[in-house]
């Protein structure tokens, strides 16, 4: 059975709320031992996931609901994120990043998520909307730099 998330928040589909979520990911990432570059990329990936929901799922409406759940994971050490919404569904097979040789604005979000996270999986929720599950593990270097008595975490 999956344990309860360490953190669960619900936000409206309001772009101005994303800075707060980024800050949260930064803080939790710091506590887990992620280096600055990875914290930055992880915040960016979460931000992109939320931006995509707001822009494409809710058509930039600001009253949609988005749930963000975060687990601290021990083995392998890292973070697991689940983001759920009640927005328009899309076939997960059609969620693809664009080819980066094509230099144009837009379409970078999925690429950023897939490049940054160790896992990223989209699915359609039974109750409507989408669920995105992502995980990010510490690199070998980050693990080695952790203090030996780093505090315990859950293991979903």
């Amino acid at each position: 059975m999956t344990p309860e998330p360490d953190i669960s928040i619900r936000i409206f589909s309001e772009p101005q709320l994303l800075a707060g979520v980024r800050a949260l990911v930064e803080v939790v990432g710091t506590g887990m031992g992620f280096a600055e570059k990875n914290r930055c990329l992880m915040s960016l990936a979460i931000d992109e996931a939320l931006s995509n929901i707001i822009r494409h799922g809710y058509d930039s409406r600001r009253d949609g609901l988005i749930w963000i759940h975060i687990w601290r994971v021990n083995e392998p050490r890292g973070l697991r994120f689940v983001i759920e919404d009640l927005a328009r569904t899309v076939d997960p097979a059609k969620i693809k990043g664009r080819h980066l040789d094509d230099i144009r604005p837009g379409g970078l979000g999925v690429h950023i998520i897939k490049e940054t996270m160790n896992e990223a999986e989209w699915e359609i929720r039974k109750d409507g909307g989408m669920r995105l599950t992502m995980s990010k593990r510490l690199s070998d270097e980050e693990r080695q730099s952790l203090e030996p008595n780093a505090r315990g975490t859950t293991n979903p």
């Binding site: 772009p15 800075a19 980024r22 930055c40 931006s51 837009g106 970078l108 490049e115």
Partner: protein, 112 residues
């Protein structure tokens, strides 16, 4: 809570320097886009985007910079980025856009 992005505009010789005063994200990218378009309409020889006060840029911000590059090229305006911090650099690297932009280490050099 975010506010609209303030973008300072000044001249440095013949160049125009735009300095966004905070992050360029989904909420703030439209203001950046508007500021860039206003400068390009004047067709200065060089547009310098001083990003020294930008700690974070998301894909909306990156898209805005790519748009700026495209309309600069179309209007024969040289676009130069300055003051890119490591976090913004990471976003450029992951989107493989580092080599696309003319990047300088100072506004004076960029404007010269």
């Amino acid at each position: 809570m975010n506010k609209d992005l303030v973008v300072e505009r000044r001249s440095e010789g013949a160049a125009v320097v735009l300095t966004p005063q905070s992050d360029i994200d989904m909420a703030r990218a439209p203001a950046m886009r508007t500021a860039v378009a206003a400068v390009i309409r004047d067709r200065p020889p060089t547009l310098v985007l001083d990003l020294s006060k930008v700690i974070y840029v998301d894909s909306s911000g990156i898209a805005t910079l790519v748009e700026a590059l495209q309309i600069s090229l179309k209007n024969n305006v040289r676009l130069v980025l300055v003051g890119i911090n490591p976090r913004v650099q990471s976003a450029f690297e992951i989107t493989k856009l580092v080599g696309m932009f003319n990047i300088s280490d100072s506004v004076a050099k960029a404007a010269g």
